[in-house]
């Protein structure tokens, strides 16, 4: 039986966009750096950042890719409150594949970010153990309030068929 139904195939090309209701802000930059354990002063010290060619503190690059902060959607039963394509495939386990980020310009506290996600492809594959799987590819573009491209993010999510109980 194929994991790829017509209903799922129809999602290819779907696009959804989330705009933050306010600027990214210094506090969220400082909080993220603190949570990661990254004490780089580029994220917290304006004078230091200026000495190194920026207009002031910048955001840690991968913070911008965290879409939940812009999405403002209610939590699902798993507690997750963020961007999701809501693909449910019974008898599979959903796992993360990986990401490719391209950072186009530094992100500043005053930037108001819009994340635009597009489902770019769905492919049927098999694991090395022979299990069926479905690889869902998406791409996000993060832009600022002037429409300038900040970051692109290509992401894969994998649905792996569970081994049948015998």
């Amino acid at each position: 039986m194929s994991l790829l139904t017509e209903e799922i195939r129809a999602l290819v090309g779907k696009e959804v966009s989330y705009t933050a209701p306010e600027e990214l802000g210094r506090a969220s930059i400082r909080y993220f750096a603190r949570a990661v354990g990254d004490d780089n002063p580029l994220y917290t010290d304006d004078a230091y950042a200026r000495r190194h060619g920026y207009d002031g503190v910048i955001a840690p690059p991968t913070l911008v890719c965290e879409t939940n902060q812009y999405a403002d959607v209610p939590p699902d039963p798993d507690g997750y409150a963020g961007h999701d394509w809501h693909i449910e495939i019974p008898g599979t386990r959903k796992v993360r594949g990986g990401n490719t980020y391209t950072f186009h310009r530094p992100v500043r506290p005053g930037d108001v970010v819009t994340a635009t996600w597009r489902l770019t492809g769905i492919a049927e594959r098999r694991t090395s153990g022979g299990q069926e799987m479905l690889v869902v590819s998406s791409a996000a573009e993060y832009t600022d309030q002037q429409g300038r491209l900040l970051v692109t993010n290509e992401e894969t999510i994998i649905f792996v068929a569970l081994k049948e109980e015998r």
């Binding site: 969220s28 909080y31 993220f32 603190r34 949570a35 990661v36 354990g37 990254d38 004490d39 780089n40 002063p41 580029l42 230091y48 200026r50 000495r51 190194h52 060619g53 920026y54 207009d55 840690p60 690059p61 991968t62 913070l63 890719c65 965290e66 939940n68 902060q69 999405a71 939590p75 798993d78 507690g79 997750y80 409150a81 963020g82 796992v95 993360r96 594949g97 990986g98 990401n99 490719t100 980020y101 391209t102 950072f103 310009r105 530094p106 300038r148």
Partner: protein, 165 residues
């Protein structure tokens, strides 16, 4: 805190060339750190903290959010190369789940240097005591550009045109 412009190897040490090892970054990720990261990224998924939820799914402990490894790979490069370094591209694939309390080590190697552009390959290993190392993230890698100290992104100039002192 020491100024990385003084201590950063890329500034004082010219031997960033193909084959050079990237200084490793090691971090133990406890539940407290995971809660902090979940808060900072608005990610309240129960996988990251809810023991009952994890038990029902046969998972031994809270699962570390994979995206934190992107942040650590950037930090590893930035700490090593200093504030001149701008990460332009970063890619990573997840191999194994990492659980609360695990210690991870980011390792890497320069694969190519082309003018001001440095390419590196990276990996993240789980290194817990006497247990054999497991791979958390592989393959991974980045493209980093070293800016000249006086160089500013043209698009990023101060609107007032004020010069940095």
């Amino acid at each position: 805190m020491t100024d990385p412009t003084v201590t950063g190897p890329a500034v004082t040490d010219p031997t960033v060339e193909a084959g050079t090892e990237v200084a490793p970054l090691e971090r133990t990720i406890g539940l407290r750190d995971m809660i902090a990261y979940a808060g900072a990224t608005w990610d309240w998924h129960r996988l990251h903290y809810d023991h009952e939820y994890l038990q029902e799914r046969g998972l031994p402990a809270p699962v570390v959010d994979g995206q934190v490894f992107g942040a650590l790979l950037v930090e590893q490069l930035q700490d090593w190369l200093g504030p001149r370094a701008v990460v332009r591209r970063l890619h990573f694939r997840f191999k194994n789940l990492v659980f609360a309390g695990d210690t991870v080590r980011c390792v890497g190697r320069v694969t190519a240097v082309d003018g001001d552009t440095i390419r590196v390959e990276q990996r993240i290993l789980i290194v817990d005591g006497d247990e054999p190392e497991r791979v958390a993230v592989e393959p991974a890698g980045a493209e980093v550009v070293l800016r000249h100290p006086e160089q500013r992104d043209p698009e990023q100039c101060d609107p007032e045109g004020t010069e940095a002192p």
